[in-house]
Symmetry: C2
DNA sequence: GTGAAAGCGCTAACAC
DNA sequence: GTGTTAGCGCTTTCAC
């Protein structure tokens, strides 16, 4: 593998000049430039990024956390982030946490080891202090998770409000025995959803107990399994608030299997307004959010931070709305 | 940020000893070790990976290509790869190609720039020569794409055979006007599928024309749109071979909307046996593949290559089978 | 416009 | 068991 020194020798100039040519610096004579270019061509030289990284103390790489790579909500979210990063000249490395605190800690470790220029956290089981303590002065942005913090930039959806108004909608429709299904309940996001659910009941003078809350379900398979459990005996619920559209689709197919009529006997509301909503029968009602806008603002802020611009911590919240379909 | 030199000074030993402690080398006195550990603790030192990367000429990072991050087949595939890489101590950086040759070239560029220790290609629009020419002597493995090459390790599914037998199944069931829907038709994989489709017709003395082949469809939305086109007028097809389960689900929902009875008038077969198959009505028939096994073998080979083991090019093909459900 | 020289943070061969 | 030393490949002052 040729280095700039090889190029320098072959073209009869110094390492500095070669570097200038590679980096398109001005103030290089046309003569030197062509000689260097020829040498580069001849030795099929490619610049070794590891040298650059050490010297410049950057790597043009951004870390992103995701619970699982294959996730109907997080995959598109991270995909959007990745595409925008690429456009700005950054690569992204993805860390799957599997909702494990250990795995989450590891990404912060990588950040402090300077392999990453910044990290975007899409969900977290850790609190502000823990995160801060691990990342110290590095660039960290929170995307999607409504983390309570005054020291990190946070871009999140108004989960509480979205669930609140959807729950009220169901209650006002005459549904009384609602069920709330959460993914991983220990994140701030899931807590907010549950609060919205609870508050909606309170504000309409309806009781709401912890028995109405189920946790740890999110995939189609889990929806089917859960549904088989709920619907096999006597089901006294007339409405289910599912944490994701996939879960909702699984529940719906199970309900049909057990002869539970949707939406007559049972209403189901999903989350994220994934296209899968259109393939079920009846089509799934779901909560739609402004994720694109959120990512756009996030990237704007990230790029500013990477440029070293100074400004106060950003905190933005985006409203969602219920899309009513057949369930 | 403290460096090993700072640690060395504070603990009264040399850089080498600090390095030995950090890397758990034997032959370090208990005394030195504790002194170093204390200094590390005191200065909250974390090793700077950029220095290590330059020195060792590795980065414990593997690049993986994916068409889009949010893809019902590729997301779980890459997720599995990522999880196994992590276990082996490697990070992965994901490159979305969006089926663009330009984007694909960029990942090979990164590879030659030494930012990556190896690359896993899951699909490609380029031929063997182009890839070889760009990556030169770097480690490249092909996962999923049945690329014709004698110089790269290839792990792929027997797409041709899976489609062949499924098509024969449909034809023998009495279906005569089949439609074949491909994702991005320019990859070797899609060509193989089409060949299987064609051959199945030939072997049963049925005609098969290029008009039966549709390309560029893969998502639920595209399935619905395509279905609306096909089913709105008079539909003379009695069987559709969809390139993915999501596409199939979209087609199915559109068929129902237009009053086309499935499976009576129309049969639909999907690909990948995604859980979504269980949520449609009727449940989708689909082709199931041995992806887990493929990834397992791939990783084994990759790790061997990274260790520098020498062995002839590996080429493995895995059989799939049709899971018959309601469509 | 160009080159010499310093150094980013780390590891490892070698000598003791 | 430990320190000295060289150097991975690159960028960037600074002087000319």
């Amino acid at each position: 593998m040729a280095t700039i020194l090889d190029i320098a020798r072959l073209s009869g100039v110094s390492k500095s000049t070669v570097s200038r040519v590679i980096n398109n610096h001005p103030h290089v004579s046309e003569d030197s430039r062509t000689k260097v270019m020829e040498a580069i061509e001849k030795l099929s030289f490619v610049r070794n990024a590891r040298g650059v990284n050490l010297r410049t103390q950057t790597s043009k790489t951004i870390g992103v956390t995701i619970p699982v790579l294959d996730h109907p909500y997080f995959s598109p979210l991270v995909g959007m982030i990745a595409a925008k990063c690429r456009k700005a000249g950054y690569k992204i490395v993805i860390f799957q946490t599997f909702y494990s605190i250990d795995e989450e800690n590891k990404i912060y470790e990588k950040l402090t080891e300077n392999e990453l220029d910044a990290v975007i956290i899409t969900h977290t089981l850790l609190g502000e202090k823990k995160i801060k303590q691990r990342v110290r002065d590095k660039i960290v942005l929170i995307c999607n998770e409504p983390l309570q913090t005054r020291h990190l930039d946070v871009f999140s959806l108004d989960e509480r409000d979205a669930v609140y108004s959807s729950t009220q909608y169901l209650l006002k429709e005459g549904r009384n025995q609602l069920l709330f299904c959460a993914d991983e309940e220990k994140t701030p996001l899931q807590r907010q959803r549950w609060e919205g659910f609870k508050q909606a009941h309170l504000d309409l003078n309806k009781s709401c107990t912890i028995q109405q809350k189920l946790s740890g379900y999110s995939t189609i398979e889990e929806g089917i399994l859960l549904g088989d459990e709920i619907f096999s005996g006597h089901c006294n619920h007339d409405g289910i608030f599912a944490g994701s559209d996939f879960l909702a689709a699984g529940l719906l197919s199970s309900a049909k299997k057990h002869g539970v009529s949707v939406p007559k006997e049972l209403s189901i509301i999903g989350f994220d307004n994934h296209p899968i909503c259109l393939t079920t029968f009846p089509a799934l009602s779901s909560i739609q959010n402004q994720t694109e806008l959120m990512v756009k603002d996030l990237m704007h802020c990230l790029l500013d931070r990477l440029e070293g611009k100074k400004f106060p911590t950003v905190r933005k919240v985006y409203k969602g709305n219920l899309v009513i379909r057949g369930t």
